[in-house]
Symmetry: C2
Subunit: 371 residues, 2 copies
């Protein structure tokens, strides 16, 4: 069986492989892998793994860039609700987000062609590697993409759609309405600022105090933030006055932190506002005074992109990415601040420790792995 598949793959390779690849196709991938749950620094390692055969519905993809998201870390730690089903001796490749270019396509593949850019949007393909073989049905075909950087495409599948759906699907916002969010410099936070700005909504953005605060404030304001305040400033009369001057009391609150930060954001919401939790970086519960529920009618929800993907047809998912890529091309949705880490030039220890440290939230932006 293995042999037959391999021969079929070889046949496909010889007939269809793409001009961008010169000479023979790759037979292995350099990958960041784990075979048990634990702290990333301890369980991650860098390995060359064989690529296996290209079955009839499979696609060989060169990974152009791949992001490191908090959820990826939680998956490796084993704290994510979707668990990795380990099989003894099998390495799992980390990473759920990234952009690849099709190098070769199996016999029955009609949805993508060599040269196309693709995003994994139904199942993780292990994006932290140089090449991957994927089921064609797990990929969204972006076609021959122009005007979009590798980093933009590699970071568009998780944070921007999360921001998009949270802004659109809960409160019924009108232009001029105000959104308040914590974790405003996170990947989601930056996308919220830009999408809200593009759609005519204002944003109050809460960040943690830090040495280079002024630099961060400028970055976020350049993205379209109306106000940037620290957690400590949030409850001061002056800031509350400034928020009141922005427009009607915030109708939508977005929470990626939990704990006291979530409480303080929720207290500034207007009557009947929606409060959506998508992350809990503080690891503390979302604590809301009873009066906010009863007398201010604050409605609290969670958002999980995996679930949105599961509940919506492929056509809607595709439409979402099409809109987001259009915003990228129009310059309205910029690459997140990021740090590139090359799989070929960084040492193995540098790669795994950078991934382990990415949850601290004080990096110079999102970690993006490139070949």
């Amino acid at each position: 069986m293995y042999r037959a598949e391999f021969e079929a793959a070889e046949k496909v390779f010889s007939s269809r492989f793409v001009s961008t690849v010169s000479g023979s196709l790759p037979t292995q991938s350099k990958a960041i892998v784990y075979s048990k749950h634990g702290p990333p620094e301890q369980v991650l390692s860098v390995k060359h793994i064989p690529l296996g055969p290209l079955g009839p519905n499979k696609v060989l993809v060169k990974i152009l860039a791949a992001s490191v998201n908090p959820a990826d870390i939680n998956v490796i730690q084993g704290t994510y609700p979707v668990k990795t089903s380990f099989v003894n001796g099998i390495d799992f490749v980390g990473g759920n987000e990234g952009v690849g270019q099709v190098i070769a396509a199996g016999e029955n593949v009609h949805t993508v062609s060599p040269g196309d850019w693709v995003l994994p949007i139904t199942r993780a393909i292990g994006s932290w590697q140089t090449y991957a073989i994927a089921e064609c049905n797990d990929l969204l075909n972006l076609g021959q993409v122009e005007g979009v950087s590798h980093v933009s495409a590699a970071t568009i599948s998780v944070n921007p759609p999360t921001a998009y759906r949270m802004i659109k699907d809960f409160a019924q916002l009108q232009p001029g309405d105000v959104i308040i969010q914590n974790s405003a410099n996170s990947g989601v936070g930056q996308a919220v600022i830009q999408l809200a700005h593009a759609w005519g909504f204002k944003t109050v953005n809460v960040v943690r105090n830090r040495p280079n605060l002024e630099v961060l404030i400028k970055q976020l304001k350049d993205l379209g933030a109306d106000m940037v305040v620290t957690e400590e400033q949030l409850r001061t009369p002056e800031i509350m006055r400034q928020i009141a001057a922005l427009g009607p009391a915030p109708k939508l609150g977005l929470n990626g932190v939990g704990g006291k930060s979530a409480t303080n954001v929720a207290r500034l919401l207007g009557r009947h506002a929606h409060f959506v939790t998508y992350g809990g970086m503080s690891k503390e519960p979302v604590a809301l005074p009873t009066s906010l529920f009863i007398f201010k009618d604050i409605k609290c929800f969670g958002f999980w992109l995996n679930e949105w993907f599961e509940l919506h047809p492929f056509s809607q998912r595709k439409q979402l990415f099409t809109e987001l890529l259009d915003l990228v091309r129009q310059g309205k949705l910029k690459e997140p601040t990021h740090e590139l880490f090359s799989l070929s030039t960084k040492t193995d220890a540098e790669l795994t420790s950078a991934i382990g440290a990415s949850l601290s939230g004080f990096l110079n932006g999102k970690l993006v792995l490139v070949p």
Copy 2:
């Protein structure tokens, strides 16, 4: 002006007063009053207050029975969001709920007649007194009521409608579905048990441990409770197994307590469940783990009956009470466990201290004042 109104009232009295009243009409009311915010024991007093004239749209009501609810105490304490606007030297009568019988009606009153039972449902008339003069438009006319006790009618305006709307307006429940609630022996809790039972839903009822626990368990099971458990038992494997055996995981959680109790109830909810907060007896915030929002899609709301009344037309409010009274007549919604306190036989100190103590939640049921 006062004189003219008074004369008009006297004329009405003589022509229309009802057969149940023999001789002259009352000119004063014995009332439990306050003239500033503070602890009920300190700011409440018992006074005989003049009834004033019966204007053309006014109704003279004899209070048959009046309840003491937690919100009444919060109003007196000054912690309720709707504040009493004190005028120097003016006494405000406590109480928002009760049933009265019309003794006499002013000239332009066409919606009620002497002998009718009435409920105050748009504005508090001060139910903790023996007589009251009210605007006819603030009253819901129950007509000549049969098959309903004074206590049932006096306690039907606040707790049963709160239970009714929370069960009907959030989760889309099907017969056999499970509701879990804390504060299950409160007025709302008892109404939830009975309405859920009448409509074919099952209930898991959480109460605080107490010396006479078995008596309470029997009381609640007699009302239709499927399970009654203490806060301490709630997270034990045996109770979780029993809840799982009841049916699908609870689709609706009702919270009148907050704090740890709310957290523990919410943890037992099924995916996509609704969690509705209507009270916060613990005075602690509602603290929910981030994962419940994101991965279990628990949706959290508050419920405030005042707001429901404001947002819905009189016809819908009337329909709600009609349905509830029908359930009373059918024996499906019983009087809450209660303790009667007579305004004529109890001492003033007994009355005010009983009201002050009513928030403790360990009374022998709801306090009901009668003439």
